[in-house]
């Protein structure tokens, strides 16, 4: 009997949920591992009272796990936070991978890709808040690291005539500007409206390749 792929390997903690065959799981039951629950919990706690004010007691209460279980998963709060940011980055990267097309030129599908990312962020307000807003207070360098990952996934080629350093600087600024716009909407409690930023993101993404007017045109077409 094989374990369902719904069950995640949660690193051998005792009492892990047993796998069941997919077809025996009721439609509305999702099997979530303890690790997943803890990561969800830290995101929820941070959204409510910020990272500095969040305690492990808060996290385990929210997750419905014991302290012992927490410490089997993570040595401390900070490590749990970083894992949550990493999971966020992985989900963004997966979303990009899924939306991208191997056949079509990236410029043709960038709107769809960015739209998918914004929709994903909008569907997970606590995680987006943790990764884009809370992380700023915890460790600004964290954000740099995972945005590099996303840029890599988007597979944006380097425009002609730009050297590596210049391009990296420009990319970093462009991604930073996108992050500011997203963070501002989240801070204003408008996470569900994130998809409205698609024109701005498309403009920023295509600008180095197609020039001002064309970038505006493409941005406008997405709205």
């Amino acid at each position: 009997m094989t374990q369902s792929s719904l069950v995640e390997n949660n690193h051998g903690s005792i009492g892990a949920e047993r796998g069941v065959l997919a077809h025996t799981v009721p439609q509305d039951v999702v099997v979530i591992s303890q690790r997943q629950r803890v990561l969800d919990a830290i995101a929820d706690c941070c959204a409510e009272k910020t990272y500095p004010a969040t305690t492990i007691a808060d996290i385990v209460a929210q997750a419905g796990v014991s302290r012992r279980t927490f410490y089997k998963l993570f040595p401390n709060k900070r490590s749990c936070f970083e894992a949550a940011v990493q999971r966020f980055a992985d989900e963004v990267a997966e979303t990009v991978e899924a939306a991208r097309s191997e056949e079509d030129p990236w410029l043709d599908t960038i709107g769809k890709t960015l739209g998918a990312v914004l929709a994903m962020l909008a569907s997970k307000p606590a995680f987006t808040n943790l990764a884009l807003v809370e992380a700023v207070g915890v460790e600004p360098a964290l954000i740099d690291a995972y945005w590099k990952l996303v840029i890599d996934k988007l597979r944006v080629p380097r425009p002609e005539g730009k050297d590596d350093d210049q391009w990296e600087r420009e990319t970093r600024v462009a991604v930073g500007a996108a992050q500011v716009m997203i963070a501002q909407q989240i801070a204003g409690g408008r996470t569900d409206e994130l998809t409205s930023l698609l024109p701005e993101l498309v403009y920023i993404a295509v600008l180095p390749f197609v020039g001002q007017r064309e970038a505006l045109m493409q941005a406008r077409l997405t709205s």
Binding site: T50, V136, G137, A177, Q185, R213, R220, S223
Partner: protein, 235 residues
């Protein structure tokens, strides 16, 4: 231009390490000089800025603020509900001062691109003057919580809204994307980076580049480069 943060009223760079309590800007907010209560509130706010700027908001206690300001605990709690309340008040005063300086420079008559350059110069000079204040304004606010984040978002909008005037000068039809939002966010990122790197003294050197970044979405490459060159000449 008078430096509101100098005790003597003289203009010029202030030494942030000189340990003098930072004085709130006077005259721009209608704060009367005589009222004792006002003066105590100012001292508390000034102390909060100094302490939080030096050791970070989370490490700052009300006791720290009381010690640095010489104001009593009872008085603190008459004026503020808690540490967060005091910090948010302090942050608002700072941002209002920044906004006042920026808009005053921006309002000086001239062609729009020049006005943007002047506004940016004032903005950069403000951050460059005092690293503790730059840190409190840009970084510490993020650690407070949802209330602070909302406030920060609103404050940011005030600044990016200044650039919306650019839509009148652009020959492109108005509509999405929001160019003022993009330009403002780009400028923000550059300032933020220097604050994080603890290099706010470098900010005035970024004036030409940021002039370009702010104007490019509205005016295009050629015109924005011309303004960038003008900013280099003025530096």
């Amino acid at each position: 231009m008078p430096n509101p943060r100098s005790d003597t009223g003289a203009s010029g760079p202030q030494n942030p390490q000189d340990g003098r309590p930072w004085r709130l800007p006077r005259g721009r907010h209608g704060l009367p000089r005589e009222t004792v209560a006002r003066s105590q509130r100012e001292r508390l706010i000034g102390a909060m800025v100094r302490v939080a700027g030096a050791k970070g908001y989370s490490s700052t206690s009300v006791a720290d603020v009381l010690e640095a300001s010489g104001v009593g605990r009872a008085t603190f709690y008459e004026m503020f509900e808690d540490k967060e309340d005091c910090f948010l008040a302090a942050h608002s005063v700072l941002v209002d001062d920044l906004y006042a300086q920026t808009t005053a420079a921006y309002a000086q008559p001239g062609p729009w691109p020049e006005r943007v350059r002047n506004g940016l110069a004032a903005l950069l000079a403000w951050f460059a003057e005092d690293p503790d204040i730059a840190r409190v304004t840009m970084l510490e606010i993020a650690t407070i919580g949802p209330a602070a984040q909302k406030l920060f978002g609103e404050q940011f909008s005030r600044f990016s809204a200044l650039l919306e005037e650019g839509n009148e000068f652009s020959d492109l039809p108005e509509g999405p994307p929001n160019l003022a939002n993009i330009a403002g966010s780009t400028v923000f990122v550059h300032i933020y980076e220097q604050v994080v790197l603890e290099r706010v003294g470098n900010l005035p050197n970024l004036l030409p580049q940021l002039t370009f970044e702010a104007l490019f979405p509205f005016l295009g490459e050629e015109a924005a480069r011309a303004e960038e060159r003008k900013a280099q000449v003025h530096a």
